[in-house]
Amino acid sequence: MNAIVIDRLTKVYRSSWFGRAPMPALDGLSLSVQQGEIYGFLGPNGSGKTTTLKILMGLMQATSGGAEILGKPLGDVQVLHRIGFLPESPYFYEYLTAEEFLTFYGHLAGLERAVLGWKITQLLDLVGLAEARTRQLRKFSKGMLQRIGLAQALIHDPDLIVLDEPMSGLDPVGRKQVRDLILSLRDQGKTVFFSTHIIPDVEMICDRVAIVVKGKLLAEGRVDELVNPGHAQSVEVVCEGIKAGEVAAIAAVATRVLQRGEHSLVVLPGPEQVEPVLSAIRTQGGKLVSVAPQKGSLEELFMKQTGATPTGAGWPATVGGSSE
């Protein structure tokens, strides 16, 4: 059964009084999220992720198309009893303490004070804020706000958790904690639908992903299905002892050569080019360090779908077979 079904959702921001043209944000977006899965909603900034989430949460009206959440149409207030939501870079009432804040959201969700007492303790422990129980939110760091935001989304034990960029603003430890939390929610049978542009997070924890660009769905499916499992898409050869300018033969067959001092990283389009490159290295008197077949990554797929070009981190990149 599907937790979320989005059907040809379109949103066009109306033109302003000052003559700005109407701006399309979503263009016939359709996707479905199954119950009990972690679904990553991936896209670059301005691709329509937040707009989609706002429409699902009833904060915005779609221009056309529709959606169902937990079997109910958009606008059904009662279904919100079963949904937890954390917006992007959340702002909360900073004059409240963590305990008052969770009590407020618990009351809004219809929870009784007796239940709230232990629920708040449990949640503050879960998000690592037990020490900050009586501290006002104005004294919270960005990471702490993100975590208390997660706690408010979970206070009423929802079946579906919708998170907009839940890892933004978190340090590596905080990001791992959030990832672990999302995984534990899935283990409890809950559905998690979250948007992000941090690809490793998606690769690590998502059952399925969607890539959306300019309001259109470009790809949807399991991560391993999307990136062609078992097929080496490229080969990385690392060697040393070859100077820049001596690698013409290598550069001719490589898609990219990255040079740092005497170390060279050669990216080949496929396994067929390995043998000619190895002979070229031997001929030049170089020393082979490693040959590593590379499987396709979600990042490559994302870059391909969004039309962006990957660059090698830390290496002066030379693209297109020439070297420095």
């Binding site: 706002k54 009351h107 809004l108």
Partner: protein
């Protein structure tokens, strides 16, 4: 109803923790205390000066709170995006608006009560008897505050904070000049001026109806039927504005 109460109590708590409110209240108490000094320095009737200043201060400070806190009631929630997580709860937008309104009404009630208590103490110190007319004036001031809050809330559902402030204060000023406006329209030879002035006359609330401060300071009890009709007028107008605010807010995108 429970969710409206939760929103209202949270709004009340937010106001209580806002330092500006205490500054305004302190300013009000200072003005009331100052009226005693002023009364000593003048040759006019002391009791009347203390009464006039007390009622005027209550009115002024109340309107400042109603207008400026009222504008922020919804405006701040939208600007700071706190509204996102609240409306993602099982609460309707109408419940949210009414809850915010009632929260500020509760704040105003507490403020007016504190100011009234200080006012009574001031009058007592001056051995001035307080009578029903004073309570009638304070009662109608409170109705006016309910109306100003509704005006501010209405504008803040679709406009920026600055524009809402300008429009609310504009409505307030025109609301106290409607009788003059009517006269202006009747005396004008220009058809366009007549038309605009007539529209403004019917559109803006007549806040002077709620002003019996003059009678109160002269110890003149106002007819209770007048107070009842004036109160009904103010409450009905506020209810209409609240309904309009809810209708606008229901269709707003965030």
């Amino acid at each position: 109803m429970r969710r409206i109460t939760v929103i209202a109590l949270n709004t009340f708590r937010e106001n209580l923790r806002d330092k500006i409110l205490y500054n305004l209240l302190f300013f009000a108490l200072l003005l009331m205390g100052g009226s005693v000094l002023l009364a000593d320095l003048t040759i006019m009737e002391h009791r009347r000066i203390v009464t006039d200043m007390g009622l005027a201060t209550m009115n002024l400070v109340g309107v400042i709170i109603a207008a400026f806190v009222g504008i922020g009631l919804v405006g701040k929630e939208i600007e700071r995006r706190t509204v996102y997580t609240i409306l993602a709860r099982p609460i309707t937008r109408t419940q949210f608006i009414i809850g915010k309104y009632l929260g500020l009404v509760l704040t105003l009630l507490v403020n007016v009560t504190v100011m009234l208590a200080v006012f009574i103490v001031t009058l007592w110190m001056y051995r001035t008897p307080f009578h029903a007319a004073l309570f009638q004036a304070v009662g109608l001031i409170f109705i006016e505050l309910l109306l100003v809050t509704a005006i501010a809330l209405f504008f803040s559902t679709f406009s920026t904070t600055t524009l809402s402030a300008i429009m609310t204060l504009g409505f307030y000023v025109i609301g106290h000049l409607t009788t003059d406006l009517k006269g202006l329209g009747e005396n004008s030879q220009n058809a366009a001026v007549q038309s605009v002035v007539t529209w403004l006359y019917y559109l803006c609330p007549n806040l002077d109806v709620l002003n019996v401060k003059g009678q109160a300071s002269a110890n003149g009890i106002v007819d209770m039927s007048y107070v009842a009709v004036a109160s009904m007028y103010g409450l009905l107008y506020a209810a209409l504005l609240l309904t309009a605010a809810c209708a606008v807010f229901r269709h707003r995108d965030f």
